[in-house]
Amino acid sequence: MALEFNETLIAFDLQAKNAKEVIDFLAKRMCAQGLVTAEYAAQTWAREQHHPTGLPTRPFCIAFPHADAEGVHRSALGVAVLRQPVTFQNMADPDEGLEVSIVFMLANRDPEEQIHTLRNLAELFGQPEKLVEMREQSTLQEVESWLRRELRLG
């Protein structure tokens, strides 16, 4: 199960005004590499309205926006480390806004694969020191190699 992950799917120190801008940015990068359809950004944003993906991780929140497999040509992981947090709604309580500092955007061909990726991500979500370590990487290349190592992406 190959998961596409490369430098151009990472946004480092991204300045975004809101969650939609982050999703649009990452989806565009995915689309430019032929990994998802042009509609993936809109589909992900639409899903986020009904089933938000913000999580109250510590010491800062994260989100893992995604849409259904229909818009995905090849599975991929997009990541944005934000300069300032943007608001995503809490998955466990859609009425609650969370200030999110890192966004992991998923594109998956099949649900099994998505679960596999999520399992690896969840290991990071439960370790505040890991999230801090990730945010403290100082270049885009460092973020990429750090994630490859931590998520065992090879």
């Binding site: 999580l55 109250p56 510590r58 466990a92 309580d93 649900p111 998505q114 969840a122 979500f125 439960g126």
Partner: protein, 99 residues
Amino acid sequence: MGKLIVVACGAGINTSTIAEDSIRERMAKEGFTDVEVKRILMADIEGYLTRTDLVMIVSMMKIFRTFDVPVIQGMPFLIGSQTEKDVLLDKIVDVVKKV
């Protein structure tokens, strides 16, 4: 009769799987062979509430209502530390042992 634990989440595919994995693993470790752990959509919960084998609900969503069986909030399975996960698993084991 078997014992049913439902793990409910909002969108139904992903996050509840993480909780389901942890609970299944612990149930096996405890040697509870009569416990069924089932992932469901929160929207489908009504259909399970009438089941006489239902012993517990693990909800990935915040809970704004009461149920006749014990309910725990399962978010720590996704974002909690190992200690927090173990606390939840211990609670589940307690409930299963009591019924």
